[in-house]
């Protein structure tokens, strides 16, 4: 009896996930048709050969472009599942290889940024909530407005100028050890960290005003136990809902930050491919970035089910991202 609702929730989650994955693969494949012009023309153009009708026709046949699209889609999907994402129009290298080379760099940047956000938001949120409307709380509010108003790539440029060009403390760009990770991480995560700190503060204050916290006090529990077991636990489940959105923003932001810092990651690969109209690489990078986002959201959903017993009983609704 205790299991049934939880299983039902997991099943619903799985069904939605399946549907989403199917649609993502379809849309990613469809990019081929969304792109202006015939893919064969694009390839031949990219290879700067003369696109004679003969050559175009030959290439169309070789790529299977003359077959009906459902057939092409299934073919593409089958190959993608085996890890074959085609070859780059520009360099001829397998897309899977290109992505594998770049994936680690993006993962490293994303992980460092998540750690920064986690640490900084917890610290600022707790401090601000300790004395609402106090000096720190007011300061955090203004700082959050300010950092939200400076786009990450602009912050990155300023950081490069101050800490790399002028002071010479850190590398200007590239990926070469821990020192090179610092500036891109700050550029990517600072704004999100302070905003999350503000949200954590609001959640904490909201939970602290709840009857169950006052009742825990009435029971004679120590303040530290009240904070850890009753306040933080409930505030964190509230915070968790925005973590999925945060990951999405990081992946989008990485596109710019990686370009600014010449960070050899997936985001930069995607930008290069978009500018060079390198369709297979665009497809591959979009697919991987989107799967990472979907995975993060799935993880958040599962964690939420674990932390909130009510969700295990209620059917999973659409969660609002703020």
């Amino acid at each position: 009896m205790g299991l049934t609702p939880r299983w039902r929730r997991l099943l619903a989650l799985g069904a939605r996930l399946g549907l989403t994955l199917f649609a993502i693969s379809l849309l990613t494949f469809g990019l081929l048709y969304l792109a202006p012009g015939d893919p064969a023309d694009v390839i031949l153009g990219a290879q700067s050969e003369t696109a004679t009708p003969d050559k175009v026709a030959e290439l169309r046949e070789r790529l299977g472009l003359d077959r009906p699209w459902p057939e092409q889609y299934l073919d593409w999907l089958a190959r993608a599942m085996r890890g074959d994402l085609g070859a780059s129009f520009a360099s001829g290298e397998p897309v899977a290889t290109l992505i594998a080379e770049r994936f680690g760099a993006t993962l490293e940047l994303a992980a460092a940024t998540l750690v920064l956000i986690l640490v900084l938001s917890s610290l600022t949120g707790l401090l601000a909530a300790a004395r609402p409307a106090g000096l720190f709380d007011q300061g955090l509010r203004w700082l959050a407005i300010l950092t939200q108003s400076v786009p990450g790539f602009l912050l990155g440029l300023m950081l490069i100028y101050v800490f790399a060009l002028t002071l010479g403390w850190l590398p200007v760009f590239g990926r070469d050890g821990f020192a090179s990770l610092i500036l891109p991480t700050i550029a990517l995560g600072l704004g999100a960290a302070l905003v999350q700190g503000r949200i954590l503060r609001a959640e904490l204050l909201e939970v602290q005003g709840q009857d169950y916290v006052r009742f825990a006090r009435a029971k004679g529990l120590s303040e530290s136990l009240i904070l850890w077991r009753h306040v933080l636990r409930n505030a964190l489940t509230g915070i968790l809902t925005i973590w999925g959105t945060t990951v999405g923003r990081l992946l989008g932001g990485a596109v710019l930050i990686e370009t600014v810092f010449a960070w050899p990651g997936l985001g930069r690969l995607l930008v290069e491919a978009v500018i060079g109209r390198d369709l297979p690489v665009i497809q591959g990078a979009v697919l991987v970035l989107t799967l990472a986002y979907v995975g993060a959201n799935l993880l958040v959903d599962l964690l939420q089910g674990l932390l909130d017993p009510r969700l295990a009983a209620a059917p999973s609704g659409t969660h609002d991202d703020r």
């Binding site: 009857d211 009742f215 009435a218 029971k219 529990l221």
Partner: protein, 275 residues
Amino acid sequence: MSREQSLSQPRLEATGIEVVVATRGGERCLLAGLDLRVESGEILGLCGSSGAGKTLTALTLGGLLPPPLRWRAGYIRVAGRLLEPGLVQEWREIRGRGVFVLFQSPGLALNPRLRIGLQIAETLVSAHGLARRPATREAARLLERVGLTAATTRAYPFQLSGGMRQRVLIAIAMGLRPSVVIADEPTTGLDPARRDAILELLRELVADTDAALLMISHDLEALAHLSRRIGVLDAGRLVEIAPTAELFARPRAVATQQLVASLAALRAADDQPVD
């Protein structure tokens, strides 16, 4: 503890309690000069209509006033300790085993994300220094004591009805064995049968632990069943306090007269004989 001793030294004594709320235009007085005493093993009823200051009284005497509200003057004596406005550490030591407040809405008083067993057991761990495991066993026993099953320890609050949640709060009180219990509208939203069951449990709580119970309610009839003395709150003042029979026979304050009259009207409407 003998009855004589407890009579000479009331478990709960509040004198000249004033509570104010800070507003933009300064402080506004919400409770003005409240005096009351509750002996060990006694149930004192406190009645009043909405907005009379009932919940405010419960929170003040329980040391739980939230920030915009402030206890400004008077003193409270709980289980032999003297408390004055502005103390923080002393209340931390007294809350729980010294004075315990049963909240008005048990649905909100229980943490929605923790199992019932833990919410009872953590109280026993902190109040009596029990280890986690014996505390959990004791929690199951307490739940059975208040008429729930031992399996309720594994339930979450949202899986219980309002009456069941109120029983959980009483189980916590029974486990705590506090000197003073303050029950704020413990029967709100319950149908008559469940209401009587909860009142009976509160009576048993006092009989079991010899606690002093301050029972706060708008329901004069429920108070009449339980307590030998009843006080009446009106607009933040204790306008009358008298033995139950006398209060009904000769209500002096206007607020008391209104409460007694409306109860009589209700009974007449129900076509029931008055005692």
